[in-house]
Symmetry: C2
Subunit: 426 residues, 2 copies
């Protein structure tokens, strides 16, 4: 039998999982600090739910990449490709849910797409959303979560913010009719530049004059104040008002890593108002570390369109965040263990030492029947464990143990109590 | 469109997720305290891997219940039905892995089986295993993990321990030939009693005399010492020696919630030595909370049988553990928030209060544009949030806020600093 994983999926080994858990735990801690509640929706959904024309499934590309399966009852099912559709389904299925409903969910999603560098068929999404309020306070809170998360991870970031209503207003001023189509083109601005966007808009029948008018408004460093005098239609004005209210709240909350960027569009068609994306200020990673916005229509559409259920949220990109952290930190340890204990004819007493260290909250490994001190040291070294304890009969008599720093090679004769104090103070 | 989850899977709402996270975090904390490293294997595996005749897939029931899918390249894949097979595949694929390899993994597994009460098609497994050593120290360490986890969860449990080699030795003494088959019958002893087992063994051609001899050894409260004089074949003696060594180590480690139970068999065919199961001492839940044992052959078999890679591990039953905890604790809160802040014409200042509470590590929710104090109190109450803060212009002048205990209705005029101190000391 050939030993391999399924194509496009991979194992995450301990040294990487330790970093992943660090990020996931930070996200969880901050989400809960902001009062978001955990929800878990299943990996398997009815195909009908995934194919509903409201979520990312509205894009035929995403739906084409859905893993399809059938259960023994011949029901057509699929593996979820995002968490948002499942959230909308959950809210729609639970009409008595108290609103606003603030929830987070983290877990694997699946896409049966072509394999390129960095594209995998199973990856984690980490989403935070507030359902059931149109108040810009909710948008401000989500953006405050962003800033707190990246502060905690010690990453310097900038949050770019825009509003779809304002973008629609600008398209209106430029008399560009098919706004959805145009926004998908504008979303590529960063990648293909003004020339590329001009080209593609032309292909879609937009005139040179319309494009010129469009770029007179969508240009670097243009301020909300400038746009205020130039965008006079209702939708555009509403977008500007929302942005002003949002920036006001952010100021009250002490959120300062935010800038207005009129060129930010976000690709998904389901956004209806605020949109934002987070980028690292330093380093090689240029892809966004998180992104989101307001999606006021999807839940209501799931419910048959009779009720409006507004929503705003953000998705964190676990992989780019881990990449940025890897640039900064050494990822060496293949185990959480801080100490590895090696007995020399003292198994019984060493087991006591190991349990005492663990009782004091210090992650400890014990030599599991490995012979000889040097083999044991090699093993500890290869796992990146920072300290070893060697316990022979001599030390036993003195009621002490030898603590060895695996990097410096320095050895000290200490009591277990002294070791606990030393490790805890590091 | 009909709004529902796929058949046999379910959403886990916040009030339940808060409990689940408590258990998962405790498991994670203790696994890492014992130096086990995290690993994540994919949900999707090649069907060939799952169908290998070594893991739980060796039982045709399990394989029949495997969700099958194909990717766009027409490769036959399956959703994993346990984590052990994927672990064995990972170890076999990574021949340079440093042994012993101590890892834990927690995540969803899938079975497309008939739906009965308590049987679902997606459920979490939480596994800890040590790969690459035959030392009973590894078995002792795993059982110590069990005791530490349940102590931390404040659940009184008993760990029943047995050994497959000893059971095989007893079957040998009773001259029962098909040992694998017999052990699957013995595993039902607790459910169908001595009479049921007698019946089933007879059906399999075991004679009354053989069964009598078997039950003279497999009886309640029989000790290892008694068995020592009666089981004289090699395999049986080896089992007794392993158990004695194991109990010795457990004593050295201060693990005292362990008993020897000769009737414990464990159903899976892949166990080769130590087997154990954990039961709650009190309450209505009689199913085991965790179980495991030694499986020395599976990884080697995956590698083609040329190398022996011994292993020992345990799987925790998240659902029964949560059931036992639910019997003991009130599960009321639908959010992690400890405080809900209600502004009366003080949005700007209230946002400052909210952020100050969060900065001090107190999970806080803010009224997101909800009108009126009583509606806001109702909302906080329905989510089970223990405190609200009401901030009006009067309080603002005094630089204080009103803290309301939602259970007692008691209100106090306090500074934010005083509130932080109060909540943190609870």
């Amino acid at each position: 039998m050939e030993l391999q994983t399924a194509r496009g999926v991979r194992d995450i080994p301990p040294e990487e999982m330790i970093l992943k858990n660090k990020v996931v735990n930070t996200l969880k801690e901050i989400f809960e600090l902001y009062g978001f509640a955990p929800l878990e929706t299943p990996v398997i959904e009815r195909y009908e739910t995934l194919a509903a024309k409201f979520g990312a499934g509205a894009s035929s590309d995403v739906l084409k990449e859905t893993f399809i399966l059938t259960d023994q009852g011949k029901r057509k099912l699929g593996l979820r490709f995002e968490l948002t559709t499942s959230l909308a389904r959950y809210v729609a299925m639970n009409p008595n849910l108290k609103l606003p409903f603030k929830r987070y969910e983290m877990g694997p999603v699946f896409r049966d797409g072509p394999i390129k560098l960095g594209r995998v068929r199973q990856f984690w999404q980490c989403d935070v959303d507030t359902i059931g309020t149109k108040s810009m306070l909710a948008d401000a809170e989500i953006i405050a979560v962003l800033q707190t998360v990246f502060n905690k991870l010690k990453l310097k970031v900038v949050v770019k913010v825009n509003n779809r209503k304002l973008l629609n207003g600008i398209l209106e001023e430029a008399k560009i009719k098919n706004k959805e189509e145009a926004i998908i083109v504008i979303d590529k601005l960063n990648k293909i530049g003004n020339d590329g966007v001009t080209e593609e808009l032309k292909e879609k029948g937009v005139t040179a004059k319309q494009i010129e008018l469009f770029f007179s408004l969508v240009k670097e460093n243009i301020t909300l104040n400038e746009l205020k005098s130039k965008v006079t239609n209702e939708e555009g004005k509403e977008g500007i008002n929302e942005l002003e209210e949002l920036f006001n709240y952010l100021k009250n909350m002490g959120v300062d890593s935010v800038v207005f960027d009129i060129s930010l569009a976000r690709g998904l068609t389901y956004y209806t108002g605020t949109v934002f994306e987070v980028f690292a200020k330093k380093g090689k990673i240029t892809s966004s570390l998180a992104g989101g916005g307001r999606w006021d229509d999807m839940v209501g559409n799931f419910m048959g369109g009779n009720r409006e259920v507004p929503a705003v949220g953000v998705a964190f990109g676990l992989v780019p965040i881990m990449e940025v952290l890897k640039e900064k930190e050494n990822v060496e340890q293949k185990t959480p263990a801080k100490i590895y204990v090696i007995p020399i004819n003292t198994v019984k007493e060493s087991l006591g030492v190991v349990q005492e260290l663990r009782k004091n909250g210090i992650s400890t490994n014990f030599s599991l029947g490995k012979k000889g001190v040097s083999k044991n040291l090699q093993y500890a070294n290869s796992l990146g464990i920072p300290y070893t304890i060697i316990l022979g009969e001599e030390e036993l008599k003195k009621k002490k143990v030898v603590l060895r720093n695996m990097k410096s090679g320095q050895e000290q004769l200490l009591t277990v109590k002294q070791i606990v104090k030393k490790i805890k103070s590091e």
